[in-house]
Amino acid sequence: MKLESRIPSGPLAQKWDRHRAEIKLVNPANKRKYEVIVVGSGLAGASAAATLAELGYRVKCFCFQDSPRRAHSISAQGGINAAKNYQNDGDSVYRLFYDTIKGGDFRAREANVYRLAQVSSNIIDQCVAQGVPFAREYGGTLANRSFGGAQVSRTFYARGQTGQQLLLGAYQALSRQIGAGTVKMYPRTEMLELVVAEGVARGIVTRNLVTGQIEAHSAHAVILATGGYGNAYNLSTNARGCNATAIWRAHRKGALFANPCFTQIHPTCIPVSGDYQSKLTLMSESLRNDGRVWVPKRKEDCGRPPASIAAEDRDYYLERLYPTYGNLAPRDISSRAAKRVCDEGRGVGSGGRGVYLDFADAIGRLGQKVVEERYGNLFDIYKEITGENAYDVPMRIYPAMHYTMGGLWVDYNLMSNLPGLFIAGEANFSDHGANRLGASALMQGLADGYFVLPYTIGGYLATLKPGATLPLDHPDFRKAIEDVAGQTRRLLSINGSRTPDSFHKELGKLLWEKCGMARNRQGLEDAIKTIPKIREEFWRNVRVPGQGEDLNQALERAGRIADFLELAELICVDALTREESCGGHFREEYQTEEGEALRDDANFSFVSAWEFKGLNGSGRWDLHKESLVYEEVHMAQRSYK
């Protein structure tokens, strides 16, 4: 299989404009004769569904929540980047592009990232026009703040609820189309199978989560905007319902999975408190604008109240190790630094897995009122969870699984290797390389949905005949429906002695230990041996009560966990194969003397794209490589010192 990235020719800065000018168009009168399925209603899905419907296509949109407004994009706190240069601090499209490529440790596709930086500006304009209440200066202009990995202030925000406000903007645009009858919305509906006929994506099979009814939907194109797979680790900052089922079932039907081992551990989360824990809560990276990260210099001081530890006995390790970026060092680097100081026994809080994020200096400098205005809701969340008041005592934070840079492989048009199947937002692999910078997820989700897919999908649809889609009684549809019904029956009939969640916890713990912030050959080989055993026991011993024709949350979870049990193996296989350290993928065997990631550009500057071959044999996946060619950027060792 040859991977065609379809990157347009010409100078980097002109590729997108030129490509847009050359994409085939669909006649406006014909657009209503094309049907597009959008799975997921987060930033990427809602913006794509709304925009495609505005253009005149007939759209069906699916989400598993009770309303499209609840997609997990809503939880993003800090902000969205855009190269507006409103602060006159030297920002530009090129600088945002370069920061993103460098932040991704030179493992992203240059042309995609440049396009992302180009359209970033349009996103802000669009969202403002929708009535998104971004923070403003007294003069009425838009306010900005800084985020990790950048030396300019380019992040737009709406208090600590930027994701919520951007998602509601997209949700409202989508609602306008639903009201107008151009989008048919299917809430509480989960995609369980992709229908591929003669190598082309032609529709999906879904389960109505209230009635259990299994249904088929046919279309000219299918867009998956179903988010990342961080919940494979069980404990993550993702919403409890986030899952990889849509992309995993597509992968099993032939879509390549790219860079699965590129996972992001977020440095500022509330530490784990017990076994019962169901999720980890993020404290926005924006807190690092004003908060200072430290641990005691001496192990003996770890148990003492933080206020009683004198300034000279504190180790502000990010400021010490990375003086240029200080507390705003990128996420992967900050997370590993926190792990190192805790490994040295200098962690704080119960279990010693925590570091302080201290606002005392900021409160002294700015006053409590200003700090409250900037971060009030985050301090509230912290207090609700821990019972501690962070205005008085420093927050305790620790890294947690947060985001996945890997995802289904796509070309420049965001189309997977299966014609007709498009992937948007976190579900694809395209823009963040081996590490994503803060405030770039919102940017990418909306870029894909508002400004990329609406153009590129037209180019694909223009090659198809308008009108008829694959009939629902086609053998490929019938087989997909039978597969879904069969899996449901099988899960309900095992009647074993363990709950679905117990398997998820076991898997998550293994992944976090063997394929978390640091990985090594031995650990990965162990995990690759252990995961199939957990999977085998799951299918022999899981207990799923209730019926299929009903609202059955245990059944929903069991199906998702079954997919995580397969995906987890691929994450480890990819991590084992990539014998270098880059971004969020840190192999202990490959590090500099100072403990920083050591890339191997000569051998590993490629995208790993894995093809599913079946779980029964020994070669479960075939590796295809897309080499990363940098026309504009010189690959350098990433330094934030």
Binding site: T51, E54, Q65, D66, S67, R69, R70, H72, I74, S75, N122, I124, D125, Q126, C127, V128, A129, Q130, G131, P133, F134, R136, E137, Y138, G140, T141, L142, F156, A158, R159, Q164, Q165, Y171, Q172, A173, S175, R176, I178, G179, P187, V210, A239, R240, S273, G274, Y276, Q277, S278, K279, E384, I385, G387, F451, P500, R543, P545, G546, L551, Q553, A554
Partner: protein, 250 residues
């Protein structure tokens, strides 16, 4: 700590429901209320019983999916938090805790604690948006918005659409939810061109969904996990009255 739970169990929409009692033993006070329900559900599954169905997702108080009435209060005893941010330390050892779904004519129960809130979506579809298609928006700074106005809009926009306001209201009124969206968009310059239409259509849609009239008891604000102010209701009433007068048929 140990607590007893009286939980509303109902097979499906239209089915007869009743309270069932469950014991939750050795509960850590640092657990969230939903994590406590997770523990109870794990035990039910192992006993071969159906776990308690409840809505939840983000578990950090922003998605608006969770929706329990705990001891008679939507989202439970703590002020300005959602069910998912309620922690067991808010209860005492030995307490009996009553857990019910959000109850309202416009929110039919689907199963146990799960209700159908799609009426809210239909109200937004009627006018809770600015009619601007993708592309062609002017530069963000071309529409200046004073900080004061932006702050009012943001206060209103903080609504998470959970429906606690409806569940708390003795009339099952959705005034706070609708007023928050009408106000957010109507105070901003971007929303002005559709100000009248928005107020009229959203109020009309609200009435059509079977929500009751405003009770003026402010129970909605007290139950709101985001503390949305009832002042927005006054604002919407004004916008609605003006729109009605301006659009009075001749």
């Amino acid at each position: 700590m140990n607590v007893s739970l009286r939980v509303w169990r109902q097979k499906g929409h239209g089915a007869h429901g009743s309270f069932q009692t469950y014991e939750a033993r050795d509960i850590n006070p640092d657990m969230s209320f939903l994590e406590m329900l997770d523990v109870v559900n794990e035990q039910l599954i192992l006993k071969g019983e159906e776990p308690i169905a409840f809505d939840h997702d983000c578990r950090e108080g922003i998605c608006g999916m969770c929706s329990c009435v705990i001891n008679g209060e939507p989202h439970g005893p703590e002020s300005k938090v959602a069910t998912c941010q309620t922690y067991m330390r808010a209860f005492r050892d030995g307490d009996t805790i009553t857990v019910e779904p959000f109850r309202s004519r416009a929110f039919p129960v689907l199963k146990d604690l799960v209700v159908n809130r799609s009426a809210f979506d239909r109200i937004i579809q009627a006018g809770g948006f600015v009619s601007v298609a993708t592309g062609g928006a002017p530069d963000g700074n071309a529409i200046p918005v004073s900080k004061e106005i932006a702050d009012i809009a943001m206060d209103a926009a903080a609504c998470i659409g959970c429906g606690a306001c409806v569940a708390a209201c003795k009339n099952g009124s959705a005034m706070l939810f609708v007023a928050a969206k009408v106000s957010q968009l109507n105070v901003l310059p971007q929303g002005k061109p559709e100000k009248d239409r928005r107020a009229l259509r959203m109020v009309q849609a609200m009435d059509a969904e079977g929500f009751g009239n405003c009770s003026n008891t402010y129970a909605c604000e007290a139950a709101c996990p985001k503390g949305i102010s009832v002042n927005f209701i006054a604002r919407m009433n004004r916008d609605f009255a003006v729109a009605l007068l301006k659009n009075k048929p001749a």
